[in-house]
Symmetry: C2
Subunit: 462 residues, 2 copies
């Protein structure tokens, strides 16, 4: 019987090859042009779970893309860990900023990844990370090291808001029943600074449309006399923040969780180098809400960002036109206690209220999710912390992060179980960006750590 380290040494080339095959399928859930690829990816995940040793694997249809379910029940009296992940990926554009095609994975060394990293869309978010669990299962099954029951739920709509998941959970409470949920879709502070995510921000994502004249107009004949929807949209967007970087939507901050000075002081201990941060992004300065540090701005504070804007002539050369319509995609990151539906309503009311009489505005909610904070004194957290301490050689830091995994709050509500966010990526892995990658070291470290979590969790379970 080999240890997890020796098993990894023996099989790592195959692990990487299998992941690369998975990364070659462009499972872009946001673009219907790729729907067949998304379905094909679900099939590939099903096969991977079969081969890893699940007793029962199913592709479960939903209103949207299917959920791949797998399980290995060794003894109903033992605890059950539900592993969640997603096989869909973000759109890769802007394509021209990729050094290699997003769906033709390549391995390259970087300063932070001297052992090499796999460059491909989805490498870290989340194909590479959920696949660690598949390979960890393979080890535990083949080497008879699985100490408890395990279930997998790998979905295909995470990048578009997991629209079908609430129904799926409610219709399959029994199937999905578990004692703890384990997710690797977050990161660590650094390879020598392990951390576990204890807080996530919620999300409200809307699209706005501003209509001026009923048709595009000649800017010479009409310019300066009619409402230009692009100028109007720019003015409206600009007004959503005041001069202190506060969001101006009435009621937006009403339910925001206020942290104590102690809590903020504790958080401030996590290593963070502002100069390094600015240098890495090549920005002259940081920006954000006055009165909060950069780490607080992206973790404990709600924010509003335009994710996309378009209108008028955007092609080559010049067109002297006043557009009929202008559009923006706007997302708000929320903190615990802010309800995303309520915030979406507040945004909609406010945006309609600030529109001048000269234009018509339409606000369309895309999707959203609640924020989440997990206690650090739970059996699950302790099992994860101990596993990381074993494999990293030091205690992980509890960390709030700005990202959102909307379904974590949903899990607590519907399945009534806690979630442990034990991820192995780095912020620099460029998820959602061109040249997304995932360190080979991190990939293998995840596979090494996961079996320890199962052992620890089962040992202290009662």
């Amino acid at each position: 019987m080999s240890t997890i380290q020796s098993y990894i040494d023996q099989h790592k080339e195959r692990f990487i090859a299998e992941l690369i095959d998975l990364l070659k399928i462009p499972s872009i859930s946001a673009d219907t042009a790729f729907s067949e690829d998304v379905i094909q990816t679900a099939e590939a995940v099903k096969i991977a779970l079969d081969q890893a040793g699940c007793d029962r694997v199913e592709i479960c249809e939903t209103k949207g893309y299917p959920v791949v379910y797998g399980e290995k029940i060794i003894d109903p009296k033992l605890p059950t860990v539900l592993v969640y992940g997603h096989y869909d990926v973000q759109p890769p554009d802007p394509m021209d900023l990729w050094d290699s095609p997003p769906f033709e994975p390549v391995i390259k060394k970087t300063d932070l990844h001297p052992d090499g990293a796999i460059f491909a869309r989805g490498a870290c978010d989340d194909k590479g990370q959920f696949f660690m669990h598949v390979k960890a299962l393979e080890y535990m099954v083949r080497e008879n090291e699985l100490p408890c029951n395990i279930k997998f739920m790998i979905e295909g709509e995470e990048e578009v808001g997991s629209d079908s998941l609430a129904d799926f959970l409610n219709e399959n409470k029994e199937l999905l029943s578990n004692d703890i949920i384990l997710i690797s879709d977050t990161g660590i502070i650094a390879n020598d600074v392990p951390s576990i995510t204890t807080g996530l921000r919620g999300l409200s994502y809307v699209e706005v449309e501003v209509t001026g004249p009923n048709r595009d107009l000649h800017s010479g004949i009409y310019g300066g006399a009619v409402p230009n929807p692009i100028n109007v949209l720019a003015k409206m967007v600009a007004s959503l923040h005041d001069e202190n970087g506060h969001i101006t939507i009435p009621g937006f901050y009403d339910k925001v969780e206020v942290l104590s000075a102690e809590e903020r002081a504790e958080m401030a201990k996590a290593p963070f180098d502002l100069e390094e941060y600015k240098k890495a992004l090549d920005i002259g300065d940081v920006e954000g809400e006055n009165g909060y540090s950069t780490t607080e701005r992206f973790s404990i504070r709600p924010t509003l960002d335009v994710n996309g804007i378009w209108g008028g002539y955007t092609g080559e050369g010049a067109k002297t036109v006043i557009a009929s319509k202008a559009y923006a995609k706007i997302s708000m990151r929320l903190v615990p206690h802010q309800d995303w539906n309520e915030i979406t309503d507040l945004f909609t009311k406010h945006f309609e209220a600030i529109a001048p009489d000269s234009v018509k505005v339409k606000v369309t909610p895309h999707h959203g999710g609640q924020g989440y904070v997990t206690p650090i004194d739970s059996p699950g957290y302790r099992a994860a912390a101990a596993a990381m301490e074993t494999t990293f050689g030091k205690k992980p830091v509890p960390q709030r992060t700005g990202g959102s995994i909307p379904i974590v709050a949903l899990f607590e509500e519907v399945l009534e179980s806690k979630t442990i966010l034990m991820g192995f990526g780095l912020d620099s892995d460029a998820i959602h960006s061109p040249n997304e990658h995932f360190g080979i070291w991190n990939f293998l470290k995840g596979i090494e750590t996961i079996p320890h979590f199962f052992k620890n969790y089962t040992a202290h379970w009662s």
Copy 2:
């Protein structure tokens, strides 16, 4: 020898058929993908001028698209009229707003065009309008009614700023020498309210790029902590106008021509129905500079409009990204005495000055041109007014318009001749917009009016 009316009655079906053939070629000068079509259009114009009776026709190469030159010199001692027009057209997008394909001309009746209008990109701007002169020449030559010399200069870069024309004029002063320049690239107030354009606005067209982080970022992990170039661009654009609709660029208004109360009162007499205007555009209200009427805003006052904006994710669905870059195309309409190069510099300095330290900005001038005002007591104006009075049955109204024909000022500078802007389109013809069209009545009325201009001008020339 037939009159122009009887000649038109006899040949109008052919005139329309020939124009439709010309409109089928997508001569989009702003998009290099159509460069062969632009060249092909020049060839078609050459053939049309040959057939109409020019003695000498040439396709003159330039740094950009060629100029088609044609002439019929009947007697060097007689005056020479130079007809200018352009065979290039605006890009047709947004395509989905066209009721019929932009380069598949169709004739449909409208409320304003009960005799039918030709719907196609370029129908009014400017293929349909310069072609009136080609057909008027055909009549004057075949019926021996040409009273003076005529030259044609039809260019292919008007919609992208006539970049090559200054060189062409300077290199061909002799060839282009003339006594008066006649252009039909403007409109009349209504079919029962003839007008002649006596003022044009200048233009400065720039493109701006705002760069935040060096790569697209995950809005959850970075949102609220880094400069979002879209939010920054929106704020910068919004700041270009103050609460009174004045442009905030320092020095922008310094050289603006100030009209007397009398002049403004005279202008105010031109028929204009604000409620009709708002209704036709389906806008809740007009917008613009405080202290000026709508007609003044688009004629005697300079303006700034965003013609296009883009950045981040603009595709289907939602992408939680913070873009690295955001862009806008911005044009300023200028009035007499404002120098477009000077305004472009003022804009560039100001835009760079208001950029926060957190971002990098780049301003790229696209093109521009000077404004122009023509006197209404010149022989040329009187000849045009008399011609219109003959064919419309009432005196035309002198009118300032907001559009720009940058080369008019250039003509005066290089060729030292005045320009008469005798156009026959309507503001509602949707030039630069989807469903551009040109009334059959207007097309034929132009052909009918032009020979009267030649006769009047020659008669009073000395």
